[in-house]
Symmetry: D3
């Protein structure tokens, strides 16, 4: 069984039920998630041996976050305990023309204040096949850029594949900071994941010689971006998610996988959204699973996009689907008929 | 007032709220339903004198199921009490590309283990105008096939009209078993109800000489199936529901009524689904009501399809609408404007 | 800061959660609203100094209604306390082809039984810039027609702008009564708000010389209606909301503002509805805000329609959006992307 | 099987969940109850044939009230439909030193405005063994006093036993009105039920020649009151409930049955209260059941008090217990051990 | 109407429903509270003009906290907006032998980082009669000790009465820090409020020459502590709350008011607790109300203790009772009988 | 870290919220538990390496049960998947004089139908220190008695300590069956756990030469029972729980540990109960933890009883407390004061 380690922050998420606004809320639904934790949980659901590494406070809230992963089989034994607090984010689910809204309260979290000495990467990565992180982890600041560098260097030494989802967050750092730091980490990345804006935000990479209509890249545009990422950092593969926001309730969703030679596009799903948070993460989880399973590129992108389509029909940050469920949708069964 | 008896199983249904997955559930919504009970409840809501016959355990859960019918005026005085347990089914509501999922836990229920001697059909059917059952009832096994035969024979003797919804359930019996048993019952059936797959599953009846495109029959195909049912079993009328599953969230819904000479098609409704379970049953309820009310075939199929369209906008197994509400929709008022 | 006073009834609203029917309900969600209170709350949310005037019983339920306004900054100090009861309305949210349903239980409320002596309009309207009421207020009967007349006369004396939403309610009065009473009040109204049916119901004003297709007026038809209102009553501006009910779940929504010379039409929004109640009121709130802010007519109608589009994505009667949120949608950002 | 008819008002009850105050409520739990309806439901739960007679509006709310009775087997076929509205009461559950609070909104209900011609007592009471009403029914005013008199006169003619719970409600009428009206009805009453204050409030009957300590009557005091009721009105039996309010959370509860010769006192239960509403009604239900079952007086009072003790451990107005459950407690099993 | 200003932090409180543990929670109930805000809200409920002063972030969460006060009539116009975040605390309600548990996440809140220049005390305190703060406010650190000093100096200049609840929080500062800072503020305090441990924790003040049994002071002990506070800081009055924790579910609750000459003890209430948080604050609110209303000392302590007894029967941090409700309990009506 | 394996059934538990009766329920809270699973979870919470062994169906419900254990760190890797269904039990929480009620629906579960070949005890018990089961496991019938015997024989061979909670369930087997089967297993048991009725039900062991008053044994009686268990089966220690049911809401709770020479009694706790299910299991968990931790007998019984006292303040079957929380109560801190 393939072993994967992902590294980053897991936060408490608090959201009013349904489509309630913050100012209407008398209770919050609580779940836990974060870009890399979500990927680990996806992989665990697919039957892989996935561990999530972070630092969590030694209180009940840290324990809740840990339990949420353990419940779905994620290996949490490598999580460091300590530090002041668990990061929180508040989510208000949008509807129709009203956008979803996020209020972050993540500053000063235990992982943001973690030290290089907290993580013994040689031990953590022993026997591991794949390492995944996102651009959010170094964006947390403090020693995180170095800690990420420590990790990917050990990966390079040990031949562990590395994937990174650029995931630019403008509230955490500037484009300049992101570009500078990510440029030190990207040379160690085998598989780069991005959405249509990340490459531009972080590296200023934009589609060359293509028409852009209505703010959307053409297929050629996506290929151009992927090729530039490969040219600049030497990645093997680039996965890109393509979201068409019709409204907060309905989105088009597709993806592309580029291997430096050919581009593979998934079908496009028109999704009536239950919860769009974690869509990109579940794409990452599906892609890593596919690549570790030796799927060809077309199968891989189809699986990754079907997985992340299903995620958006499920409440919470994490993708609670099995591999057969994903394969069924990827295989064309999108009618939603009752499975008796 | 017309008197109707329906016979079959009523189960406890447990489902996570909203679109929650089983693995996310910390509570289940509970309701009670079953193909024939749902029909009885529809008819009671339309103002008819409908009784449901089954066997329920002598415990609180059996009582809950009974109360759920009594609340809406169904006559429950003919229900036999005893036996080991109430059947249960677990439902996970799908959303968009994610299908709904059912886990049955109905084996060994009181009705499945019922004996012929439990039911005195001459008493039960005294003064009754219509008897309804579905293919699920004999599929429960044990003595149920004989019990159903006992019932329909009494109906034939007394001139009670019989309707049967084929309702093939592959988890309960094989196509062969279904075909063999149903063939003994069908000769007593006046009105046969089916969806596009039932006739093929149970009797191997498929549309003759018609084009099938994309897995969907043409209008001629449906007529062919209905004609074959009439030819083989001598039914008077065949009602067929036509579901087009766009996704778990949106379905097209229509129906056909065939009287051996002419086929009457309803309008097609594009339904944004609240709960699709019981759609076929509410079609049956609407059809029986229409026929007992002396509606002409076009009115009957329009009423039955409007009724079952409305059902799918209502949570739970049962159709909580009045006849005027159905007539309003059947009459063309589908705009959903507020009724002040 | 502009000061606005609105006058009318605020009711307790009780509705089953989600799309539940009354006969399924074991609890009701409770909120408070009414045409004029909803306008005051909109304006308060936009940062204006809005007071709501009514009469509420001296019990906990009256206090709850008052608190619901105070929570969002509405000035409640001019509310009179006393009388027998708080009006109630029960709402069942429709879905797809099933319409929403309202059961009113508002007879004999404290405001419906209020006396002219309860309201000292000279004091209430001191320093006020705008006064708003709807056709529902005089429709409550008793002394309300005279009380409304008292109020608008003071407005005329003091140069306070008056807006009125015709809002015909057939359960409260006949077309004849409405026409007679409203004709006494309209001469004091500067800005008249209506939907496509109100002008016909109240004043028998119908589009002249225009084609009506499928029950919907053409643009020219709306202009004709607005012009007739101006011709008859001397209003300065007429705002009309245009609702296209595709189903209870999906509506088209737009509006027109006519200033006697030119008609300004907003874009049309296809809304996936969370709660359509209060849509017209939030249009009124947006229009008054725009006019008090000195927006040009096109900006004003765009703001009012965007505001009321957002309202329909929010549960409850009242529009919990800020002016920047409305401006964002009015400015064309309808994609519903997450605001991080 | 004994047949019982009870007559009165059934209201919608709305209460905040748990111990929430009105001003905290964002939803209300909804149930339905009323003194006489509660008695009918108790008797139905004990297996008797109990019908409830009232007048309910022809809307969904009236239907909900009717369904709530039908669910538990009460015969609702004699209910008259029509009139303007369903009475409502709002309940705030107290806790510890904070008392429960009731806001009535029952004026103008369909039953309060009912006419003598609405009820054909000869038909309603045909074949009936027992008729029950409470002092609340005539207190509703209008023609209710005459309607009650109509009913009890038919009972006298037909030899139907009549029970009446005095149930004085000071918000409905004055002591004088109550005394005058009830004095016309009491001569037809066989079994009178009261609590420690009712007899004094309605008839000015107070304990003679006994010590009253701390506001509580001694046993002799209760007997004196009962004897006076018998002397004055010729009742056969008087049942009195004895509540000791330690706090809103904990009460002592007992009862006395007096047959004109001997007084039978039940044990006293220290109840940790779930919901005290309907305690007296469930006492009435238990007493009528006992008397119809031919229990001796000691058994009868023990059953009635055990029944009403159990009621107060159950949320809502009505007593959802079976006769064996009551017998178990009446038999001394008060330890609350799990029944596996 | 007396005008009061209170100053401190208001936090978001998140707690699992009922008696749920953090590790069981899938949702949190949300409310808002803080020592000084709770006092302001109590006073507003009693009909006084109470303003709360703090600094809240310019986001939806800050707005929610503000709205929670505004809903109950607290003047929020003096609240400063800005800074990074709203403080949060997580509460797990204990039961029986299991204690309640609090996890604070309040570091770095907008108020904790507020600057002296944020508050113009001369403007804020203009026309004010009473100023209240607690030991928590200076304990937040940063410039809060100076800000508090700024405020109380303005109070002294203007003759505004000052009350302070010592409220020692060991997670916020050490005993030494508390003692040093509070000693600078206490000379400006007219009325000092404390529980049995605060005076010892903050000032090392312990009962002299008295027996202490079972960790509880005798009456003389409390007087001794109060006298020492007066001797040392020159307060006029000292109010002390006396809690006897039988378990997390049941507490004894009483209080003492000492005016330097005589000590006035309230009755003791045995409370079956709904929510004990805010008990001390509601005591403070009741005491300030009583003193501003000119109650004599016995009436004042009785009112304050009855008020805080009632608070503990109400969920949330704040005391949602009216003055007549408190007076009723203070007057001896503790039986919890239904108020119809 | 000590390794423990427990073996038995885990069921889905469904209960109405709060004190709701089955016939009132519109939803059920769902959790998972069983005697041996509860012990494993307790031990995991105390930081030990606890595995639970059972057989669960290969469906979502089986997965839910497994996840519920995994969430709290129980090793679920030894669980066998397969078989027809998950056992279910329905629980109605009692209140005051109304007892809790359990409806079992566990027949035909995957574990009840498990085969000896499903469990390779040599592999399962490799490296294990302690094995625990209860009398419920063999009571499930089928091959379970032999499977248990297989397990305890391997334990004897490997020197693994064995504990057994007699836990007689009369709905699963007769006293005779229980006595016969348990007599074959007891010789392998080192630590026997029982409540006051188990030893009598299973082995006919009753207190010798002691007075029994009111159905409760004296201390000597408990010692006599324990001594007889030791005499007959050679156990090393016997732990007995002592429950005094005052009502469904309030219980006394204590325990005794007997080592063949001395009897150690814990203090008695008066518990205001949140959920009494699993009380005995949490006693077992506490006792095993204590013995594995080398606690002396008095410390052990105090810990076990404090642990199980806390369990009864927590909803659900399982004991979600840490060792320090138990030690705090066992150390005498029972006041329930807030832990800030």
């Amino acid at each position: 069984m393939a072993k994967i380690v992902t590294f980053g922050e897991i936060m408490m998420r608090l959201n009013p039920a349904g489509y309630g606004r913050f100012v209407q809320a008398h209770s919050f639904e609580v779940c836990y998630g974060g870009g890399e934790a979500n990927v680990a949980l996806s992989l665990s659901n697919y039957g892989m041996d996935a561990a999530f590494v972070t630092k969590l406070p030694e209180n009940d809230l840290g324990q809740c976050a840990l339990n949420s992963l353990r419940q779905f089989g994620v290996d949490t034994t490598k999580i460091v305990r300590g530090g002041p607090r668990l990061g929180i984010y508040f989510l208000e689910n949008g509807a129709s023309q009203r956008p979803s809204k996020v209020v972050y309260d993540r500053a000063g979290s235990s992982i943001a204040l973690a030290k290089r000495s907290d993580f013994d990467w040689n031990a953590i990565l022993d026997g591991v096949d794949w390492f995944h992180f996102t651009g959010i982890t170094p964006a947390l600041g403090g020693e995180l850029p170095e800690i990420c560098l420590d990790a990917v260097k050990v990966c390079r030494e040990r031949g562990i594949k590395v994937s990174c989802d650029l995931n630019y967050r403008k509230k955490l750092w500037t484009r300049e900071e992101a570009g500078r730091v990510m440029a030190t980490l990207m040379p160690y990345v085998n598989v780069c994941i991005a959405n249509e804006e990340d490459a531009a935000d972080v590296f200023g990479i934009r589609a060359a010689n293509t028409d852009i209509e209505g703010g959307k890249l053409s297929h050629e545009g996506y290929i151009s971006v992927a090729q530039q990422l490969i040219d600049r950092f030497g990645c093997e593969k680039v996965g890109i998610t393509l979201r068409g926001s019709i409204s907060a309730s309905d989105n088009d969703w597709a993806g592309m996988l580029y291997d430096g030679e050919n581009a593979y596009f998934s079908p496009t799903y028109r999704i009536h959204i239950t919860d769009r948070v974690g869509g990109g993460d579940s794409f990452g989880g599906g892609l890593i699973y596919s690549l570790l399973s030796g799927y060809d590129c077309q199968h891989a992108i189809n699986f990754a996009v079907a997985a992340s389509c299903l995620k958006q029909t499920i409440a919470g940050d994490v993708n609670l689907v099995s591999a057969p469920e994903v394969e069924s949708l990827a295989g064309g069964n999108a009618s939603g008929r009752v499975q008796r």
